[in-house]
């Protein structure tokens, strides 16, 4: 699917250029075609295409995956709310006055540090 999207973006971008000679749209279509390549590249690099994972095996049964660790998932966190409050303050400072900027940056930094510490626990 990723390759199909890349092909579509590349082909239509090329056709668009030769039909219109309009730079903005051509650039947009070509850059759109690159994003699926990034996703496809990641999937290939991480073996999702080479080795056939259980989820892509039509005959797999759940017990074959029994006990397989899926990952660590946080239970609850207040830091996302703090992150957003910090971001809004930074944004508002651009509109209402740069006095708010250090406050916003401080709160955002606090939230980022909080999130990072949470991931390590």
């Amino acid at each position: 699917m990723m390759l199909a999207l890349f092909a579509f973006g590349a082909i239509s971008g090329t056709i668009y250029w030769f039909v219109t000679y309009e730079p903005a749209g051509t650039f947009l279509l070509w850059s759109f075609s690159l994003m699926p390549l990034i996703v496809a590249g990641y999937l290939v690099l991480h073996g999702a295409v080479r080795a056939r994972p259980l989820e892509d095996d039509p005959d797999a049964t759940p017990d074959r995956a029994a006990g397989q660790e899926l990952g660590t998932f946080p239970a609850a966190s207040a830091w996302p709310l703090v992150l957003v409050l910090g971001s809004i303050t930074v944004g508002a400072s651009l509109v209402y006055g740069l006095l708010l900027l250090p406050v916003g940056l401080a709160v955002t930094a606090l939230a980022v540090l909080g999130l990072m510490r949470e991931s390590q626990s």
Partner: protein, 546 residues
């Protein structure tokens, strides 16, 4: 504190899920909670946008009537459009996706739960900023139309902080969407249960995959456009200012490169809802699964190439290229319609409330789609662009389509989310009121557009053919209003006096119906082998399983 999860295998005794307190509701990273937060917040914005619509309809009901100032009216349609598009329909789709995708693919949560919560808070924060932008300036708030075309949105013509707050709000919504998109794609690609191949995914999940890709590709250029606009306004830039060597048309290209895929972001999740509802209530498998998936991908891809059909009357784009691409999108959309009809064919159709809304969707969206084909013709668009014909077209697709699907989805999944059923008879009244009210409101707007009534007009001269359709349209709004009020009453009553739903009140097809209502933490205590796109059905009918 974090939790290590293992894939489930053996059945464990089920604990009923805890009711969450208010602080927990706002900080829990459980996808089900975040999904509900999204949906409830988005529905709240629907009520705000709907109230603004009501004020506008009252203003337009009669030519001589002036209930709000012109400046206020211009602010109202700006905020109405922004709220409905960015704060209601799109987030509701993401909310439903957050709730359903892990359940539908057999996963315990989304791939990045804290990112999920962060994207919700960015959405909520964005909502606050956008509402503020409507009221913030003493000269009136953001009143440049939700397109924010330049040079009108430049500082010279829109002084004050309204537009700047609006830009910040949209930027936060974009960040929220991109985060959500990353989360959805990673979850679907890497966290499906064993045997849940991509070709057995429920169509709702497939549609969300394409929606997520569209969001990832489409939002960044728009954020770039808004950043440039902000620089023009506040930091002495001239990107879009012809007096400084800039070009207003460039803004339109960048804006519509998001703007058009955005409307597919507004419909694809809801095509997905309809595709979940129809097979269940026709008691049949979905017709043409592969065709539907390919059609969805085709719609997503094509939607990136049609943006300048919003610019047919500007004289700066190659109209035939965009006209051809826009006409082509009708083909995969038609494929979907035939797939839905084929699903109903030779079925055993029951007219539950979700199915009634789904039928309303089909009838309404067809009109929206056909009128879209008309608008795809550039010469026809020379007359219809920027008229009420376009307004009617997009309300038929987004409101008659997506919003009807939203109601279908609410009636369908409310039992799963809360463990309680909504009232069937009251729901039928709601469905009829909304259908009749919707058509009374928006059909006359096709007539208005054809006769020459432009968009974004606060008033109109009498006796040139605009009077009666406007009056009928306003009447229709109040019929819809009654439907929405009854719906809210239904929700309140159903939560108060609960009728237990059980795991699977409808006889559903996908995995969410296999687990309890509401589902336990981490969703599944045990999973059976998955062999088709309707695992819940296969469990009930092993004799028919492939």
């Amino acid at each position: 504190m974090s939790v290590t999860l293992e894939r489930p295998v053996a059945a464990q005794p089920e604990e009923p899920p805890r009711r969450l307190g208010p602080v927990e509701r706002l900080t829990s990273t459980d996808h089900k909670n975040i999904g509900i937060l999204y949906c409830v917040t988005a529905f709240g914005f629907f009520l705000v946008g709907g109230a603004l619509a009501g004020l506008m309809r009252v203003e337009l009901a009669e030519p001589a009537r002036q209930v709000v100032s012109t400046q206020a009216y211009n602010t109202m349609f700006t905020i109405h459009g922004t709220v409905m598009i960015f704060l209601f329909v799109a987030p509701f789709g993401i909310g439903l996706a957050n709730y359903l995708i892990p359940l539908q693919i057999g996963a315990p949560d989304m791939a990045f739960p804290r990112l999920n919560l962060t994207s919700y808070w960015f959405f909520a924060g964005a909502g606050l900023l956008i509402l503020l932008s409507g009221v913030a300036s003493t000269g009136g708030g953001a009143a440049m139309g939700w397109y924010a075309y330049t040079p009108l949105s430049e500082m010279r013509y829109s002084p004050g902080v309204g537009v700047d707050l609006w830009i910040l709000g949209i930027a936060l919504v974009a960040i929220s969407n991109v985060m959500g998109g990353v989360n959805i794609l990673t979850t679907v690609f890497l966290m499906r249960a064993p045997g849940m191949t991509m070709w057995r995914l429920p169509i709702f999940t497939w549609n969300m995959v394409v929606t997520a890709i569209l969001g990832l590709v489409a939002f960044p250029p728009a954020v770039a456009a808004f950043a440039l606009l902000f620089i023009d306004r506040r930091l002495g830039g001239h990107a879009f200012d012809p007096l400084g060597g800039g070009d207003p048309a460039l803004y339109q290209h960048l804006f519509w490169f998001l703007g058009h895929p955005e409307v597919y972001i507004l419909i694809l999740p809801f095509f997905g809802i309809i595709t979940e509802v129809i097979p269940v209530f026709s008691r049949k498998p979905l017709f043409g699964y592969l065709g539907l998936v390919l059609a969805t991908i085709a719609i997503g891809a094509l939607s990136m190439g049609v943006w300048a059909h919003h610019m047919f009357t500007t004289g700066v784009v190659n109209n035939p290229f965009f006209s051809a691409m826009s006409l082509l999108i009708a083909v995969p959309t038609g494929v979907k319609f035939f797939a839905w009809t084929g699903t109903m064919w030779k079925g055993k159709i029951s007219f539950t409330v979700p199915m009634l809304f789904a039928l309303g969707f089909l009838l309404n969206f067809l009109i929206g789609g056909v009128t879209g084909v008309m608008l795809a013709s550039a010469p026809i668009d020379f007359h219809m662009n920027d008229s009420y014909f376009v307004v009617a077209h997009f309300h038929y697709t987004i409101m008659g389509g997506s919003v009807f699907a939203i109601f279908a989805g609410i009636y369908f999944w409310f039992p799963k989310m809360t463990g309680a059923m909504l009232r069937e008879r009251l729901g039928r009244v709601v469905a009829v009121l909304l259908f009749v009210g919707f058509n009374l409101t928006f059909w006359p707007q096709f007539v208005l557009g054809l006769r020459g009534f432009p968009r974004r007009y606060v008033s109109y001269p009498p006796d040139i053919g605009f009077d009666t359709p406007n009056l009928v349209s306003t009447f229709g709004y109040f019929v819809m209003f009654a439907g929405v009020v009854l719906f809210l009453a239904d929700v309140a009553v159903s939560l108060r006096r609960r009728v237990p739903a059980g795991d699977d009140p409808w006889g559903g097809n996908s995995l969410e119906w296999v687990t309890s209502s509401p589902p336990p933490d981490h969703n599944f205590d045990a999973l059976r082998p998955i062999r088709s796109e309707r695992p819940a059905f296969d469990l009930r009918h092993p004799e028919l399983a492939p």
